[in-house]
Assembly symmetry: C2
Homo-oligomer: 336 residues x 2
DNA sequence: CTGTTAGCGCATTCAC
DNA sequence: GTGAATGCGCTAACAG
C-alpha cells in the first residue's frame, strides 16, 4: 500500500532500465515513442510522483522560493503574496510561505528552514522587531538571493521593492491642511524600518513646507502590537496641546487607535481625524475608519518582487548587482 | 563565495572522515568531546547548513508538513494556521503554507508540490470549488496522512477536525425568535462542504422546532465570491415575502450582503437582521455588522488538527484509523 | 572513539 | 534507442 514507487519500480515492471524511464518521463526524444508511452501510462497508473529531494540533489535547484512575511492576516500581505505567487507561478516556481509574526526569532527559524531546504531564492518583508540581518547574510554564502519588499532593511545593501509613500503622504498633509487642520501628529512604526523613516522624513518636510509646527511629543512609534498602539495613542491624547489629526503607520494601527479615541468619548473627524496607509479593502466595511488612506498597491509590490527575483535567478552573475524598485502611492479619500 | 560547504568540506579541513563530522554535528556522544567542539566551531564559522534534501533521501522523513487553506486574508484561516504552527512547531515540525484561493486547480497544484516534496503530512481546509478528492487519495499511496479541518469533504473517509455550529446556530435562532423575528432565511455556502450541510440541517431542524415556516426561496448558496454573494442577496431581497433575518455562511458573506442591503436603503437590524459565523476580531471595528456571530474558535481547530496529525505521524499504523474531532461553537451577541 | 562502505532516487555521461 | 555506471550530501551498519 504505502510502497513507494520510484523509477526503478517502473523500470523493473517494464523490463527496461531506470535511465530509460528517467529519460522517457522527461520526454527525451531519443527514447522511442512507444516506450515513452508505456512508461507514462504505467507511471500514471502507479501514481508515480518524482522525489524532488533526489532531483534537487542531482540538479542543485528546487524551483522553489521561500516567502517570509510578518503575518498573513493583514490583507496587505495576502495581496502582496498573491502578486508574488502569480508572477513566480508563471515562471514555473512554487512559492512557499512562512510568517514571522513580527518576531525576529521566528523569522530566523523560517530563514534557517528555507536555507536547509535550499530554496532557489527568498522574498522577505521584515518583522517589526528585526534589527539585525546576519540570518540573511548567510544565504548569500549559498548563492541564494534575497529580495526584500515593503518592509525593507536599513543600512543593509540588498535587492528591494519598496513603496514610496511620499506622494501619497504629501497629498494627505495638504488634504488635512485644506480642511483647516494645523496640529498634526505622527504615530509611526518601528524605527528599524525604512518605511518608518520615509514616513517621518516626509512628514517633517511636509509640515515644514506647510509652515506647520510639530514637536517631539507629536512623533511616536508603536511596535505595531495592539497593546503598544493603545499605550502610544493614550499618551498622545493626554497632551495638553492635543493634535487635531494623527497620521497612523497603517490602517490597522489607525483602527486600534480610533477605538481608544471613541472610548474616551472623542468624536472622530471632529475632535480628531485620522489618516493612514494601506487603504485595505476590509476598511470598506468600517464606518469609523481613517478619513483617508494612502494606497500602496501591495499586489504590485509583490509582483515586482517576484519579477526582480526571477531576473536575478535567470542571471546568477547579477546576484550582487543590487537594484531597487519603487512603487508609488496615491491618496484615497473616503466618502464621509 | 558561493562555494557550497558540506560535511566533506569540514571533514577534509579537519583531516577527519565525513561520518565523524556527521556524528559530531548530531551530538553523538560516541565522538570525543574535543572533536565535537572542533567540528561545530568550524561548521559555525563556515556557515555550514545541512542539506535537507540529502538528509531526507537517507532518512525518508522531512519533518515538514504542508498546509493548504482557501486563502490567507481571512482572519479565520490565519488564526487556524497559527494554531497549527504552534502545535507542530513544539513537536519539531515546520509548517509550510499554500493557498488555493478557492480554486480546485490551484489546490491540486499545491498538493502535487507537497507530494513531490514528500512532506510528512498534510493539513487541508478545502477550497470552495473542490468537488473531487483524487488528489488527496494519491497521498495515501505514499503513506502521507491528510487531516482536513473546518472545510472538510463529504463522503470521503478521512481524518478531520470540524467545527460543530449546531449549538451556536441553535442559540442564534432562539435569539432571533425572542426578538420577535419569524421570517428567517439562510444564505449558505457551497453544497460540497460538510459545513454547509450542517448549517442547513441545523437551520431546518431549528426552524421546525420553533414552529417557523421556511421555503426553498429562503435557502440559497453562494460560492463565497463577493459577486455571487451579491447576486444571491439581491434575489433574496426581491422576494415578495422578504425575510426579517438572514443567516449568512460567515462574517465575510454577511459583510458583503449587508453592503447591498444598505445600498437598497434598507435599515440594518430594523428592516433586516444578520446573524453569521466566525466572529472575527476585525468585525470589532465594523459598526454595521451582523447582530450576532457564532464563534468557532479557529485557533483551536488548527491546534487540534496539528495534534491529530502529530498523533498519526508518531503511530504510522494509525494511518487508516480515521478519527474526527469536533470543536463546539458559541453564539456571541454584539452590543448594539 | 573513529574510518570505510554502501545506498537513499534521480539525472547524466559514456558506452554500445 | 537503450543500458551501465557514477555521484549529488548525508547517515548508518559494520569494522576496527
Amino acid at each position: 500500500m504505502a510502497e513507494t514507487v520510484t523509477i526503478k519500480t517502473i523500470a523493473s515492471l517494464l523490463g527496461i532500465s531506470p535511465s530509460t524511464v528517467s529519460r522517457a518521463l522527461q520526454g527525451n526524444p531519443r527514447i522511442g515513442l512507444r516506450t515513452r508511452e508505456r512508461v507514462s501510462e504505467l507511471a500514471l497508473s502507479l501514481n508515480y510522483v518524482s522525489n524532488s529531494a533526489a532531483r534537487m540533489l542531482k540538479k542543485n535547484t528546487t524551483f522553489t522560493v521561500g516567502v517570509v512575511v510578518p503575518n498573513l492576516h493583514e490583507e496587505f500581505f495576502s495581496l502582496l503574496i498573491a502578486g508574488i505567487e502569480d508572477v513566480l507561478g508563471q515562471n514555473g516556481f512554487q512559492a512557499i510561505i512562512s510568517q514571522s509574526r513580527d518576531d525576529m526569532e521566528r523569522e530566523k527559524k523560517a530563514v534557517e528552514h528555507f536555507l536547509r531546504a535550499r530554496v532557489d531564492g527568498l522574498i522577505v518583508s521584515l518583522s517589526a522587531t528585526t534589527n539585525e540581518y546576519d540570518h540573511f547574510q548567510r544565504l548569500e554564502r549559498y548563492g541564494i538571493p534575497v529580495v526584500f519588499c515593503d518592509r525593507t532593511p536599513k543600512g543593509f545593501p540588498s535587492f528591494r521593492v519598496r513603496s514610496s509613500v511620499e506622494a501619497g503622504l504629501r497629498s494627505g498633509l495638504e488634504f488635512l491642511y485644506q480642511k483647516g487642520i494645523r496640529k498634526i501628529a505622527l504615530l509611526n512604526g518601528p524605527p528599524y524600518l525604512l518605511s518608518s523613516d520615509e514616513r517621518l522624513n516626509t512628514y517633517l518636510r511636509g509640515m515644514y513646507e506647510l509652515n506647520l509646527e510639530t514637536s517631539p511629543n507629536y512623533i511616536r512609534s508603536t511596535d505595531l502590537s495592539k497593546e503598544d498602539t493603545i499605550t502610544q495613542i493614550e499618551e498622545i491624547l493626554q497632551l495638553e496641546n492635543r493634535p487635531e489629526a494623527i497620521i497612523a503607520f497603517n490602517d490597522y494601527v489607525a483602527l486600534d487607535a480610533i477605538k481608544v479615541v471613541k472610548q474616551k468619548g472623542l468624536v472622530l473627524n471632529k475632535d480628531i481625524t485620522f489618516l493612514s496607509f494601506a487603504n485595505l479593502p476590509i476598511t470598506d466595511h468600517v464606518e469609523n475608519g481613517p478619513i483617508a488612506s494612502v494606497e500602496q498597491f501591495p499586489y504590485q509590490i509583490g509582483s515586482k518582487a517576484g519579477e526582480l527575483l526571477h531576473g536575478v535567478l535567470s542571471c546568477p552573475s547579477d546576484i550582487h548587482n543590487y537594484r531597487e524598485e519603487v512603487v508609488d502611492s496615491v491618496l484615497k479619500i473616503r466618502g464621509l
